[in-house]
């Protein structure tokens, strides 16, 4: 697929990229700044549509789906973690994790709370449940963001520089979590990073240069 931003002048940010990711894979997307790593992730995450080509999720052609169907698919099947945590400051940790579940409405209220609690416990955040984002450290906030991304039990987790604002210790914790998600739970994780040490921990690395995939493996 390709993605060209309309001009003037038109800029092609992703060119003829072709990528197939299987369930349970842990993939790093690397490359120099401006190489189109994040753009590729937004295309995969259905936040952006390719100018040509298509994105298949669970074998479904998403190019044919309407906007609300895409919203629904993102809500139910995908999880996002960004460099900035994007937690809602008016809500407690627990409530932030509940937001995607409440939006999806698949579970009843007690089940949602139980699941949110369990997610927080698994990410060592049990004692932070009642706290507000501003009362948490950077590493904790990012873990809350991961918990929120996992709220609706997504098959695919997309992370855009998730460790960009974290120190080495916290960055390692985040990658440990991602590793567990793939090995223990069979989720697919695609993470954009420019940190070669962290990228080395994944089992597959896709390297981008100027919007083209130059190496994959």
């Amino acid at each position: 697929m390709s993605r060209t931003l309309p001009g003037p002048p038109p800029v092609t940010i992703i060119q003829d990229a072709s990528l197939a990711v299987a369930a349970g894979e842990f993939v790093a997307v690397t490359g120099p700044s401006g190489s189109g790593k994040s753009s590729l992730l937004y295309l995969l995450g259905l936040l952006d549509r390719p100018s040509s080509g298509t994105v298949l999720v669970d074998g479904r052609d998403t190019g044919r789906l309407g906007r609300s169907e895409l919203d629904r698919l993102r809500l139910a099947r995908l999880g996002f973690v960004f460099q900035f945590h994007f937690l809602l400051p008016e809500f407690t940790t627990l409530d932030n994790v509940l937001i995607p579940m409440r939006k999806l409405g698949r579970l009843d209220a007690p089940a949602m709370r139980a699941r949110a609690q369990a997610l927080l416990e698994r990410l060592n955040l049990a004692e932070a449940a009642r706290k507000y984002p501003e009362q948490l450290s950077g590493g904790m906030r990012q873990r809350v963001a991961i918990a929120r991304a996992l709220a609706n039990d997504p098959a695919l987790l997309l992370a855009d520089e998730p460790t960009g604002n974290l120190d080495t210790a916290n960055a390692r914790i985040v990658f440990d979590i991602f590793e567990r998600l793939t090995t223990e739970e069979g989720r697919t994780v695609i993470v954009v990073t420019h940190d070669p040490d962290l990228a080395a921990r994944t089992r597959r690395r896709v390297q981008l240069v100027d919007g083209r995939i130059v190496s994959d493996g």
Partner: protein, 418 residues
């Protein structure tokens, strides 16, 4: 119980900016409050005024005139001819409502209608060297008391005295003053037909309306018919209704049927009533301006929230919130401010009314209606209308920033936030 998610988020936003929210709510509340307060003040006065009009005069008057003069026979004979008729003198026929008794009976048969025959004409009251021109009404006391409040307005004497005393006359207090006569004095009454009668003042009327007090007199219908040399003639039928609002439609029906000029109290007082319409439009535009300013306040707060919350909007959209979901959040904020503003405004309005009710004009004595304070209309609809308008204004004000929030592209914001 849990609120819907969008409401939760909307309330969270407003709670975060307490001061601005409170100011916005107060803005709306002041608009609604002033509307309610001023409305009560103006409508109270207008209603008092209208009751006065309705009380003093009959609701409908049928006169022995026609709105459109009947066409000349020449025009009827040659409908499309080039005929000019000039210098035509009115036919010398006795004026008056024909067959008035039958018409009275017909009107009285209608439900909620009381009617009275009157012969009205100009006369001169003469007492010593003083001449006072007045409008003399010949009435039947039994019927008249059902049609006007003449009995209530009698400052001295009784209506029955018209019957029990020969050639009895009731005059306005101002008329008596101008004449220099008092109750029990006998004065001369001269009609344009040259008939002179000696009549005795048996009653005085004080309505507070100077045109009546200074220019009207009442006598028995029979006596006035003699005085005006128009036996058995009635030139007005005056009607009072149980339901005042029916006056105009009924007047139109009567005129269509009897062809005589028929005026409802609304038509007679059209100049005053149209003045009220102007007065009300001025009030509503001023209050509308207050609410408009309040709406700008709401627009401002929600715009600010949208601007500050772009990151939150971006993450919600990336999580799978649609444009409608985002729009609902910010519209809800407008609705909350509007509702609370309307509610507080109703209280402010109530307070304002109570405050106005306490106001007394010192040194001026009873001003109107025997009171020296404001006359206030206490009605429910201004609260409802004010709150509804506030809600509408709030939603309109929230709509623009809400649309903008809904259309934000999450990718742009997420890129920028890193």
């Amino acid at each position: 119980m849990r609120l819907p998610l969008f409401l939760d988020i909307a309330l969270g936003h407003l709670r975060r900016r307490k001061r601005q929210t409170v100011v916005s709510i107060l803005g709306v509340a002041l608009g609604v409050g002033f509307f309610v307060g001023i409305n009560a003040l103006m409508r109270g006065f207008q209603q008092y005024f209208i009751t006065q009009i309705i009380d003093v005069a009959p609701h409908i008057v049928i006169r022995d005139e026609f709105r459109t003069p009947s066409p000349q026979p020449a025009f009827l004979a040659f409908p499309r001819a080039a005929v000019t008729v000039s210098g035509v003198k009115p036919k010398d026929e006795p004026r008056g409502i024909r067959n008035a008794r039958a018409k009275l009976a017909e009107l009285e048969a209608l439900p909620g209608v009381a009617a009275a025959p009157t012969l009205q004409g100009q006369v001169i009251l003469r007492y010593g060297t003083r001449d006072v021109p007045v409008s003399l009404y010949g009435i039947e006391p039994e019927r008249e008391r059902r049609v006007t409040n003449i009995e209530r307005d009698l400052a001295a004497g009784r209506l029955e005295d018209l019957r029990s005393t020969a050639n009895a006359l009731i005059v306005g207090v101002g008329v008596a003053e101008k004449l220099g006569g008092a109750l029990g004095d006998t004065i001369s009454v001269v009609s344009p037909r040259g008939v002179t009668l000696s009549m005795k003042i048996v009653g005085l009327i004080r309505t507070g309306i100077s045109s009546i007090d200074n220019g009207q007199a009442y006598a028995l219908l029979k006596t006035v018919q003699v005085l005006q040399n128009r036996s058995n003639v009635v030139n007005q039928i005056r009607i009072r209704l149980d339901d005042v609002a029916q006056a105009e439609p009924l007047a139109r029906r009567i005129e269509a049927r009897m062809r005589y000029r028929t005026e409802s109290w609304e038509e007679t007082n059209r100049n005053v009533l149209s003045l009220f319409v102007i007065q009300n439009s001025i009030m509503y535009s001023v209050v509308g301006a207050i609410l408009l300013v309040a709406a700008f306040g709401i627009y401002n707060i929600i715009s600010t929230v949208v601007y500050e919350k772009t990151r939150d909007i971006a993450i919600l959209k990336s999580l799978g919130f649609g444009e409608r979901d985002i729009q609902a959040i910010f519209l809800a904020e407008g609705v909350i401010v509007g509702l609370l503003g309307g509610l507080v405004g109703a209280l402010v309005g109530q307070g304002l009314i109570e405050l106005l009710a306490q106001v007394r004009f010192a040194n001026s004595g009873p001003v109107i209606g025997g009171r020296n304070g404001f006359i206030l209309a206490r009605e429910t609809w201004p609260y409802v209308a004010g709150a509804a308008f506030a809600l509408l204004a709030s939603v309109m004000a929230a709509l623009i920033p809400a649309r903008r929030a809904a259309r934000l592209n999450p990718v742009d914001i997420i890129r920028g936030a890193a």
